[in-house]
């Protein structure tokens, strides 16, 4: 045929190299880029963590393994529900697919909720990335001593404080004000002081060697993973109103592939961050 043929009705034919939908191919390629993204992040974590001179233990940084395991379990459940949603869509039962997808959405939201609770615990103990709000120091040095002084001053200025604890705080402040005071000794005393139940909430600065790098890597890895989870939830919300029959099985499959990938990333993050 030649150029004189009427163009209006032509549908071009192609010669695809792989027997899958374009969308699915694109999604797998996208997952490859995501693999590289997380490889860079996890690689960074591994080299910085195992190269570090010191690394905090889970108790140092209030990291709860059972909660991490629970979150792992939730994500695994959500992986099952979304694959069941896909099966239902393929069987053309849109209602069931929708129900499964909704459960997946709930599980994902639960994951994020637990994550938020974990973050809140960390923040409560002064484990921020933000230096200004962090009460942990990598080492007992002059910087630590000045941080301790500032914290003690705000404690002693607090009029509602418990009398006994207040007296202890004033005594410690006197010591800390001495320019010749040994920061390590101060750190030890401050740690004991933090054990006093009434004073625990005052959050005196503590020394956790490697604490800075721990907060950096923990919040970066879990934060970017949580962003991926949130993006997945957003997609669920967009997909839910559609009619999830056979025609949408491809779409649901793509969404599922992405969600499983997010699950796999967490499967690696859980032991690396919580159990190592």
């Amino acid at each position: 045929m030649d150029s004189t043929a009427s163009a209006e009705s032509i549908q071009l034919r192609y010669q695809p190299a792989v027997p899958i939908r374009n969308g699915k191919l694109m999604l797998w390629l996208f997952l490859s880029t995501e693999v590289m993204f997380f490889a860079a992040l996890i690689g960074t974590y591994i080299v910085l963590r195992f190269g570090a001179a010191a690394w905090p233990t889970p108790t140092d940084v209030h990291l709860s393994e059972p909660i991490g395991a629970l979150n792992t379990f939730i994500l695994i459940c959500s992986s099952v529900t979304i694959v069941l949603a896909l099966e239902s869509a393929r069987a053309d039962s849109g209602g069931r697919a929708k129900a499964y997808l909704f459960v997946t959405l709930l599980l994902g939201a639960a994951f994020l909720g637990i994550k938020a609770y974990e973050y809140q615990v960390k923040f409560h103990h002064g484990l921020h990335v933000d230096r200004a709000r962090r009460t942990i120091y990598d080492q007992a040095d002059l910087e630590y001593a000045s941080g301790l002084r500032a914290a003690l001053r705000s404690v002693t200025a607090d009029t509602n404080a418990d009398a006994a604890a207040l007296a202890a705080a004033t005594a410690l402040l006197e010591q800390a004000n001495n320019p010749d005071a040994d920061p390590s000794a101060l750190a030890l005393q401050a740690a004991e002081f933090s054990e006093v139940p009434e004073a625990a909430d005052w959050r005196l600065p503590i020394v956790i060697p490697g604490g800075h790098m721990w907060t950096s890597t923990y919040f970066l890895l879990t934060g970017l993973h949580a962003l991926h989870v949130a993006a997945g939830l957003l997609v669920f919300v967009c997909v839910l109103p559609l009619r999830l029959g056979t025609a949408r099985a491809g779409l649901l499959e793509n969404v599922g592939l992405y969600w499983h990938f997010v699950d796999i990333v967490w499967i690696f993050l859980f032991p690396l961050l919580y159990l190592f």
Binding site: P19, G51, A54, I264, I267, F270
Partner: protein, 142 residues
Amino acid sequence: MATEDSSGDNAQHVTATGGVGNYIAVFVGLCLLTGMSFLTTSEWWPWRDQPGFTRTFMMAVACAKALLVLLFFMHLKHEAGWKYILTLPACVMAIILAASLVPDVGFRLRSAADRAEPANNTRETTIERGQENASDQAPSDN
């Protein structure tokens, strides 16, 4: 025309899957594996004093879990040959990247830890091959 027909139709590309029973089995397997790696933190774990082995074990468990998800939930078990082209390069590249960071970034800082200098000196590191010398004191430390 010699070439095969193109097909962009969604319905033609539904891959066979193992069915619901299969998924439940995989789910149980994943839960068991998670339990196993969680067990390493408990008191009953016999290799508590061997972190190297414990970590290897946990990574092996994680790889097994990832493989289960890939094979069954992501249906790779049932896909054609393209699955290798689309998945292996990224995995290989990821491993190359992480592995090549280790000798340069990981080991170098490690040598600082091995020296076991006093706490105020942990920032300074020495190139591995460099012999120890008295000048390790960091000039900018206090």
